[in-house]
């Protein structure tokens, strides 16, 4: 609210007319605040972007999921109702894909957030070379997903890969064809690569949150005789918790959408063991050229993302009330 100085004399004296200088200031302030359309003007670019590049395609995808549509003839489609959904949910392979997706999401999020928190706590301490360490830690996040995947493919090469040799040295035999073609180890390798790429992002975000932990509170807790774990639980964690929650939600949504690392490393194999929803969607759309089925798979992914977002809001609200 902008207050305009009226120039009234103290003690209830007769009001003095406002000088022109004050009116000009008020006008300037009002102009600075803008008209009531200003917020809409600022929001418009984002709203237009979301409408044209997200909402319209989303509606189109929703409609496609009820049709039999070929990639090669997208305008010539046939309405099939819920057939695509019935087909994918009755397919045992799709159920396996859902399970693989769940395992991939849960482990990559827990791994990335857990390790990221640990790295952030380490980097928050004082040690020689801390600045360099903080810079170096961001490299995996800065590297493109394809490059990250290629680095791990080379490290896991069955003949010359350094990790393969390391595994063999500690008595783990990845098999003749190597880790990435071993049905028992491939998902683990993809998860390791994913976590390796995500940890820097999580640690940088949590490190910045750690900077806002009040030092006087930590010192007070220590003076009261609290140990390291107690200080972390009672003081640090309370400050970090909202950021960790936000990062976990972001990681979950990104994990559901992650494509390039899995595709480059295993293409969903061996024998479908690393096939997630996005890999299945791509395969349906661009290999089988079935846009209708691919859209149905996409809608399942969107439904899962929405459930996670809404669920996380409930959890956050509950935690807020509790605190």
């Amino acid at each position: 609210m902008t207050r305009v100085h009226t120039g009234a004399a103290p003690g209830g004296a007769a009001p003095i007319p406002s000088p022109p200088r004050v009116t000009a200031t008020a006008k300037r302030r009002r102009r600075a605040a803008g008209s009531r359309w200003t917020p809409y003007l600022f929001l418009a670019p984002a709203a237009i972007y979301i409408l044209f590049f997200q909402m319209i395609p989303l509606v189109q995808e929703f409609r496609l999921s009820f049709t039999r549509t070929s990639l090669l003839n997208p305008t010539r489609n046939e309405w099939v109702g819920l057939d695509n959904y019935a087909a994918i949910f009755s397919d045992a392979e799709f159920q396996r894909t859902l399970l693989t997706t769940l395992v991939y999401v849960v482990i990559s999020v827990i791994g990335a957030v857990g390790l990221g928190l640990l790295v952030a706590l380490l980097l928050n301490g004082t040690f020689p070379g801390r600045t360099i360490a903080r810079s170096l830690i961001t490299i995996p996040w800065a590297a493109p997903g394809i490059a990250v995947a290629m680095i791990w493919i080379w490290m896991l090469n069955p003949q010359f890969g350094i990790l393969t040799k390391l595994l063999k040295a500690v008595g783990i035999d990845p098999g003749r064809s190597g880790v990435l073609d071993n049905p028992d180890l491939a998902l683990f390798a993809v998860l390791l690569t994913t976590v390796w790429q995500l940890v820097p992002f999580v640690s940088v975000v949590l490190l910045s949150a750690l900077q806002s932990v009040p030092k006087e509170l930590v010192e007070a807790a220590e003076v009261d005789g609290a140990g390291r774990w107690a200080v972390f639980r009672v003081v640090t964690w309370q400050v970090l918790r909202p950021t960790v929650g936000l990062v976990a939600v972001l990681m979950t949504i990104w994990a559901l959408r992650r494509f390039e690392i899995i595709w480059v490393m295993t293409r969903g194999g061996p024998l479908g063991n690393t096939r997630t929803l996005v890999i299945d969607l791509y395969s349906q759309a661009f290999e089988s050229q079935q846009l209708g089925s691919a859209a149905a798979i996409g809608m399942v992914g969107i439904a899962i993302s929405l459930i996670i977002i809404i669920g996380s809001r409930f959890v956050a609200r509950g935690a807020g009330k509790e605190s």
Partner: protein, 419 residues
Amino acid sequence: MQARPHHRVKALAALSLFSASALVLAGCSGESGPSAGSEPVTITFAASTFGDPGRGEGLEAMLADYNSSQDIVTVEPASVPFPTFAQTVLTQMGAGSGPDLIRFNMAEFESAAAAGLLEPLTDSIDADELGLIAGPDQYLIKDGERYGVVFENSNYGMFYNADLIPNPPETFEEFVQVAKDLTQGDTYGLAFRQTQAEEAGVWQDIQNFVLGFGGSWTDGDTLTIDSPEVIEGLEAFQMLYDLQVIPQGADAATFRQMFANGLVGMELNNGGYATATTANNPDLNFSVADIPFPVQSQGTLLTPMVMNVHSDHKEAVLDFMTWLLEPAQQSQLQEILGASSVATETERSEASLELYPFLPVLDEMTETGVPQLVLGYGPETPELRTIIVTQVLAALQGQTDMATAMETAQQQAEELVGQ
């Protein structure tokens, strides 16, 4: 082979007539400014080959020759990287746009032809008159309608390191023995693709084994994935895998580098590989021989040149195609493509034969080459490929035996195609 320029004359005459008519009509209408017909026509030619080292520059030079040979049509190259080529171009064509002229692989050719995205060329291309080689050309005719002409045909042969193998094996037994003898330490007798991440490559490699043992994925109408010949070929593939004479788990990029470094003795590959290998490793002493399998039949990487049905400049596209099919241009194209063959019979130059003395071996395979398709099920090939390769890999991983794997594949494939 005689030059037959009258094809071009007809096409160019039609174009000129169209341009002139448009000029007249534009004049009559009293409108000023350029009209569509009076403007020079520019068409786009999409091919991943434009990005190939050593070949792209040569092809672009050919386009420049064509462009300077007349002043009506300009052909512009559109280089789309091979890994995303099919997806990019098919999506564009599906949406009613895309390049005017395209060099496709057979799988995309089949899909695009079945979806009605290719312009029929039956009335425009006379195979006999142009002298098109019948073997590969037959695969470009669907239900009596021609949808393309051969741009490049790359036959599969047995590439071997001549320093490691002075006398190439001539029977399958000798092939196995040489592979076993060479495998020692970091050196392997043989290499082929065997990982899910290289599904398309595995498909190409198993094709040679299936054909070489007299098998086929279909008899033309019915799927024969679990036939004894197919299983025999794939069991031979598995035997070599189990003998550990290949660098297991290594991708093509890795084992090709190993081949260049003398760490792999043999591999089955197509003619296009010869050019790339020579360009990258000029000192490598390698050669090519017949694949020593019981039946003389092998895969071929057949890449037709097709016209987009949505092209606005069909006469111009046809003019360029017929120009490229003339003997002089075919010889020039043959030289650029190296060890591949082209649509018509050409004479290899002495310089080429000196550089690649094995060219006659690859050229002789043209009539017995079979494109890497499930014949009769072209549009379904990508899905059938996934089914078959997944089952082959399951057998390699020891999850099942090859015969059971192929029975499963047959069942899944029949469900897919509705047999």
